[in-house]
């Protein structure tokens, strides 16, 4: 800028002024309190819906009757003073209040379960409560899924007979003690022991070290009367590996800890304060032999230890636990997206006071998330339909069970990692989409993110699980290369040679990418390519250097697991919506699948480019298609979140209110939290002395 005359500087400054978008404003009061634009905005969005919201709700909730039951269940929650918040905002509760409220809700639902005759409504009530409170749902989950499932999968018929009724009626409150302070992902490192005492026919449960302390155990902090604990089983000085034991923790009459049991509270957490995570130390706690869960491994009354036919069977419970990530993620994501989308349609910002949802950066960051929760919902069903069948085999056909477990394991590990990571991303997008107002606890998004924060590691650390998935892929590819037929999610390996022979895409027209089979072929190629390449590297390294070679390729192995998971996720989604083919909302379901297909390819675009499967023009076509699809779907953004029918009192976020009149509601919420307008006590202690200090030269006398 050599010609730096002041006038040219002014001209340039004028251009900058334009960037800053600061120009004199002539009394443009865009959003009057008394003339809110939000309600009209949302009404218009709703009027323009390209599908019938109720029909979509029926797909999400699996039928009209369920949808009705859920509506009634939400009414129950809203009205029952033991279920609902009594006053204030959820995020103003202290930890102790939150704990008490959560237990109150549990006690009430246990009561209600007995009076509600319709199983549909019982189920709906649980679902409504899960949306209403993450801490409630986690307490239920720990008891019902972790503790009870352990008994179902590892307990004998007699053991189930003995315990099940107490568990179902919460006469026993159970927790699940696997993780220890020092170890979790690597179960082999667990330290807690269960030593068989032949003399008394008992097991002695013991935490030999500080790091052996069971840690994080949900409900052990304040409430659980029992736990299932995983322990190294020592018989006659020999370690028989890991088994499960039921250990009583508290006296049901008094709530006090039993002798030898020390449980403490984990204290303050990132979120989920209503759940009493705790730690447990066992000091020579004696339990009867019968408290070992003995479906697979067992100890006879005579003291004969029979190992499990295969240790893996004892971990089957981790598979459905991982699948439940799809269920739990819907709860958190559907709420966050409902808030972010509605706010996006109501909030106006920019040169022409646009609805912020109309900005390309905005809708491209949210619409894939919206589609994704639908996918989670549909694929959830596919997975559990299959799993229920497999779990049935566990009782009826051990051979079939063992045949199915490998793929179930591979899928669950990869899905847990891939999907939970993407959920985290979407949550962050929701947060950003709400600007500063997301920082208020009263708009709930921050809290939901806090709740979810554990999921990338809890229930199996994602990086660890992605490697389990990768290892499954490398192993099955090897089988296929050796000529064995492989089944399930990896069946494409049977044709890996043919797949790899097409080393350049046939993509010519963006419409090709709307075709499900076409997209799957593209992703299949990517999986086969990555898998063979990595398998080769590992083979080259040789057995002795396997671990080292694995580590040197870890990042790409994780990527392989990711591509594979997205591919199979898309397949299951298509399979799921095929069941809805003659529903009016099918085209919309399909559209969301198409967007997410493009999303998955776009996510790994560099891989396709790097291997020259795509050239630059293909990449540009994929990018443009993605933008177009997001823009198209944006039109239905509001109806798509409405279909989840989450009531305002559940959302607890005024900026996500159904009617769009967000500012008075937000203001009222903040106001209600402020108990008084008087100066705080500390004003007089710490502020007044500062602001009333004499100025230099002033007399001391003139202070207050």
């Amino acid at each position: 800028m050599e010609q730096n005359s002041s006038s040219s500087a002014v001209a340039r400054l004028a251009a900058v002024q334009n960037h800053l978008a600061i120009q004199p404003c002539f009394q443009r009061y865009a959003i009057h309190n008394d003339k809110p634009t939000g309600p009209a905005d949302l009404a218009r969005e709703r009027a323009n819906a390209s599908f019938k919201v109720e029909d979509m709700t029926e797909v999400l909730l699996r039928g009209k009757e369920n949808a009705e039951a859920v509506a009634v269940a939400f009414q129950m929650v809203q009205r029952d003073p033991d279920l609902r918040m009594r006053d204030g905002h959820h995020y103003d509760l202290t930890r102790a209040e939150d704990r008490e409220q959560t237990m109150r809700q549990i006690a009430r639902t246990v009561e209600l379960k007995k009076t509600i005759k319709d199983p549909r409504l019982r189920q709906a009530l649980f679902m409504a409560m899960a949306f209403y409170s993450e801490s409630y749902s986690m307490r239920m989950y720990v008891h019902d899924m972790l503790f009870k499932q352990a008994l179902l999968l590892f307990g004998t018929a007699e053991q189930q007979d003995k315990w099940m009724d107490d568990i179902e009626n919460w006469r026993v409150i159970g927790c699940f003690a696997m993780t220890e302070l020092g170890h979790s992902s690597n179960l082999r490192g667990l330290e807690t022991t269960s030593t068989y005492d032949r003399a008394t026919n008992e097991f002695v449960i013991h935490s030999p070290t500080l790091t052996a302390t069971k840690w994080w155990i949900g409900m052990s902090g304040e409430t659980a009367t029992h736990t299932v604990a995983i322990c190294q089983t020592i018989v006659d000085g020999e370690n028989h590996g890991i088994n499960w034991f039921i250990v009583p923790l508290r006296d049901p009459k008094t709530g006090r800890l039993l002798p030898g049991v020390t449980c403490g509270d984990i204290g303050h957490k990132s979120s989920r304060q209503g759940l009493d995570n705790g730690w447990i130390q066992f000091t020579q706690v004696r339990i009867p032999r019968e408290n070992m869960l003995m479906k697979w491994a067992s100890m006879s009354p005579e003291g004969e230890f029979t190992p499990s036919p295969n240790p893996v069977l004892s971990y089957a419970t981790l598979i459905p636990e991982r699948f439940t990530i799809l269920t739990g993620s819907q709860v958190v994501l559907a709420q966050s997206l409902t808030i972010a989308i509605r706010y996006g349609a109501v909030r106006r910002q920019g040169n022409h006071d646009e609805q912020i949802l109309d900005y390309q950066t905005h809708y491209t960051s949210l619409m894939p998330g919206v589609s994704f929760i639908y996918m989670l919902n549909i694929v959830d069903r596919e997975l559990f339909d299959k799993w229920d069948q497999v779990a049935e085999y566990a009782q009826t056909d051990a051979g079939a069970f063992m045949r199915e477990i490998p793929d179930q394991h591979g899928v669950s590990a990869g899905f847990k990692g891939t999907l939970a990571w993407y959920v985290t991303e979407v949550l962050e997008s929701c947060r950003r989409a709400c600007g500063g107002h997301a920082y208020s606890a009263y708009n709930s998004i921050a809290g939901l993110i806090g709740d979810y924060g554990v999921v990338t590691t809890g229930g199996g650390d994602n990086v660890v699980l992605m490697q389990q998935s990768a290892r499954y892929l490398i192993t099955t590819l090897k089988w296929a290369q050796e000529g064995q037929e492989v089944v399930g999610s990896v069946s494409y390996f049977n044709e890996y040679k043919k797949i790899l022979s097409h080393n350049k895409t046939t993509l010519q027209d963006p419409r090709d990418l709307l075709n499900h089979e076409f997209v799957i072929d593209v992703l299949t190629w990517a999986c086969a390519k990555k898998a063979t390449e990595l398998a080769e590297k590992l083979t080259e390294a040789g057995k002795a250097n396997f671990d080292q070679a694995w580590n040197a390729n870890q990042v790409e192995l994780v990527r392989l697991a990711d591509v594979h998971a997205w591919r199979y996720f898309l397949i299951l989604y298509q399979r799921g919506i095929d069941r809805e083919k003659n529903k009016s909302v099918y085209p919309m379901l399909r559209k969301m699948g198409q967007l997410m297909s493009t999303f998955a390819i776009r996510k790994h675009l560099d891989l396709f480019l790097e291997e020259s499967y795509f050239d630059g023009s293909h990449a540009k076509l994929v990018r443009q298609l993605f933008l177009d699809q997001c823009k198209d779907l944006r039109k239905d953004a509001v109806p798509l979140v409405d279909a989840w029918t989450i009531p305002d009192f559940v959302l607890k976020a005024p900026i996500g209110k159904y009617d769009g009149n967000i500012y008075p509601a937000y203001f009222a919420t903040v106001n209600a939290a402020q108990k008084s307008y008087d100066p705080p006590a500390y004003w007089h202690k710490y502020a007044a002395p500062l602001v009333n200090a004499p100025r230099p030269g002033e007399k001391k006398g003139c202070q207050c």
Copy 2:
């Protein structure tokens, strides 16, 4: 799997078992409480340092004297009962306690400032406190940076004379009221008015609507006695645009709100509870004419309004505010990374109980972050050296000031967006790196993330700022295309034709990428390419369709701003470390710059591939280099975080303890938070009735 014999099933299951890594374990108690491995691990990492930690600290803190002052300042904080936490853990404080503590700390530092004679130590004390408490540092920031800076940049000499001493001694506690409930990014939409009353020579400050409520205003909730407020200035019925006014809020004697002023507390937030963010409504509040800040626009005693020579000048304060992102981010990131890196070196997990930091996935996710904080530190200085000079021009040479502002604006907007986004990513990596233990509030990472959560939108929403940067780029490119010379961060546009004529990289050897100029050339090509392509699209669309075309290319415009920002960030870093060329730590500083160069290219690899600037082999070479660089730097991971010299009591995270003996410390912290082992009050209300309910057939009498 047609040959589904049970034996083949068992074989496959055995393979899966291998994936699950669950095998019988023979009494391997890897990490004994009484034989902790952590201290030895950290000692070994430290012994292997390839540079002298103290030398590095001196670079970070700008010299030995500063480093010593900081050490003393930390001692002051640790010992002074008004500065330090009195008991319990920070994340167990209630909101009210946190507020009180923060104000207590402020009152104490104001006192101390008067007694400390060494300016170095005064500065160091502020820095130490900023590390110790984010809420403290934000209260200070609001008063010292936002409120005081407004007076400095917009106030006349007389106004500065009148107020400055009160401000510096906290006889006035100031806040900064720009944002409103309804608007922020688009300042033109602000609604608060300042109407000139000719009769009394006063301004009447008024919030005409609910959405005009000033919102989020730090310290307005409970403590500020004054605010600077930005208002639409109405004179004789005409709107003269936005100006700044000093408005008293509270009676200094009583702390009570002044008539016409309504301030309330924003209540619970994602974090930073110690800062009293609030809202303000003005109802016909009268202030003397002299309270308008009149350096640029002014109102004469006779009621003559003189507009600012250029409205942009009034927003100069936003530029240093955005640069401070580099300072604030270091505080949060250096703590998070210190915790994550030390934990990574101490935590052992996996088949061979590896230090988790040795996993490729682990060190590749953390080492770029470690390098990044060094870059922030170095570039911070470069930016403020320049800005101080520019700010000086504001007082001395208006022409020079106006010449410099455009590039300062462009750089600050792009840096704020690009860098704050990446900080968010690194923080998430730190969280994941600590597994489940990151979920405990007592390990602080969750809280630091909560604190930082506001930064992607606060101080200017990132998406909005990235567009301001992009607009600056598109505009300056146009100037260059028209033959004008452009300067500063965009000077490469002067040669855009020559740059674009090399449309294929000359990269052949990974070592090329270790050369600073080579990398900058690569990134320069990318910027020029993206910018010309986007400029062309916008030009094609024509003026009438500009906004629409802008929106249709928004995602790529943001990307352009990102590539440009990384490029310039790398340039400034190299410029900064060139000043340290003869220091012993220079090679290490250079190494980190090299890693981040590769990082930046890898981040936009698809761009290079898409445009065939790179082919697949180049991409692979970049990826491999990145892995190798991370692995190499991993060796110095612990010393590199140690150099930040953050004491344990500041980190407040037992898993990040300096001595590596983390488990007993973590256990002790959790234990201290548990006040009693008795059952909680709610046990008797809600749990006891459940667990003591009679079984079917049991008599009622047997309950407690």
